[in-house]
């Protein structure tokens, strides 16, 4: 059975999804015709994995709706950059606007889906994604707080644990917060988890992993059905 066949203890060597696979899995969550903002990090890889048959209108908080792929060498226009300063192309039907309107779209509930990276997500759906305690420098917020406050559906993509093996899904965030009770779905290198009023629902697990193994690496209780499907990529 997918996801419950392997019963040995978790070891560091056991393969997890790559960042690209997390992005690929998350791409399936995007609705056809939806307006979507992709944040820094893993979310920024998602556009490459969009199913051919659907169209998504990508929003950039610096004032673009309808971004296409990144510009190829020679076709860059440095007045047409995304929120990561990278020159992009447009798809037909794109539009430009100033930043107040761009963030109005985020904060006002007009985006269908936003996908952000995360340092921690709590069992209530609180998100920490902008500052690591003790990190050097000023830190920076950017558009994440407006996006987290306003998107109809917020997906967080991240590794399931830190490099030291500590859970990133926790009972309470200990890192500086981005927004409270904002996350709807978490896609990690081990699982797809929905944040619901009743708790964290384990929707899918990565190939070769069991619900119990995922629970061991999670800092908050997961609600798991009898059979948890394997994470799907199509």
């Amino acid at each position: 059975m997918p996801g419950d066949g392997i019963q040995e203890r978790v070891t560091p060597a056991k393969p997890r999804l790559t960042r690209e696979q997390i992005a690929q899995r998350t791409a399936l969550e995007l609705p056809d015709g939806g307006y979507v903002n992709l944040g820094w990090g893993i979310p920024n890889l998602i556009a490459d994995y969009l199913p051919k048959e659907i169209t998504v209108y990508f929003h950039s908080e610096n004032g673009i709706l309808g971004m296409g792929r990144r510009a190829r060498p020679g076709e860059e226009d440095f007045d047409q950059v995304d929120a990561m300063k990278i020159p992009v192309t447009l798809i037909p039907g794109a539009s430009f606007f100033h930043q107040a309107d761009a963030h109005l779209m985020s904060r006002g509930g007009h985006l269908d889906v936003a996908v952000l990276g995360g340092f921690q997500v709590s069992e209530k759906g609180d998100l920490s994604n902008w500052k690591i305690p003790g990190a050097k420098g000023s830190g920076g917020i950017g558009g994440a707080m407006d996006i987290a406050a306003g998107a109809k559906t917020l997906i967080v993509c991240m590794e399931h644990t830190t490099k030291d093996g500590a859970p990133k899904i926790v009972k309470q965030c200990t890192y500086p917060l981005t927004a409270l009770t904002c996350v709807d779905t978490i896609v990690t290198d081990l699982a797809v988890i929905d944040v619901k009023p009743e708790g964290l629902i384990l929707r899918e697990v990565a190939r070769g992993w069991t619900a119990e193994e995922v629970q061991e690496l999670t800092g908050a209780p997961l609600i798991a059905g009898q059979r948890i499907p394997e994470m799907s990529f199509a």
Binding site: L65, L90, P92, G93, S95, L104, M105, G109
Partner: protein
Amino acid sequence: MKQKLYATLDQAVADIPDGAQIMFGGFGGAGFPNNLIQALARKGTRNITAISNNCGTREGELGLMFKNNQIKHVIASFPGPHANYFQERFAAKEVTLELVPQGILCERMRAAGAGLQGFYTTVGVGTEVAEGKEERFLEGQRCILEMPIHADYALIKAHKADELGNLTYRLAARNFNPIMAMAAKTTIAEVEEIVPVGTINPEHVMTPAIFVHRLVQAKGLRYAG
């Protein structure tokens, strides 16, 4: 993918239920969704809360809604001397009215669209508009708290649209339409012309498609007052 383009005006308003809160664009005879208003009259939706700068010109613009007694409450800035159907219903207490300064009407709708939960302004301080509103000093000035105005639907009028819902407006017919498009859960635009996707310069889009949920082509029908 969900299509925004509707074949008829009646289909575009077919699900608007009794009791809906509806914004209506237009100012001074320009930019009124007259064709959608007529469709809403045919549909017969009642007990509407209408948000509109004025209350129609005789039977024209929003006037038809009052003639048909479809509206129970209005949030408006300037109902207008030629809004005789409104004035009759208002005198008969069949319609209630909240009068709002015109710029504050815009800001309250924009606040709803922008996901803000209220703002302070000096406009209206010391006047009837301030009655019942929280007052405080901010930045050394007497201010009142104004709350967002949300809507279930916005009926707006644009000049051109592509099939994705990107809109442009002609001249001063822009007026309230872009603000209302941002503020409503479902924005329905009547447009004079549908153009192919990609033919509106992205720099010249006045209402980006994200704010537009239904489109219907309709020509003519203007009330010059």
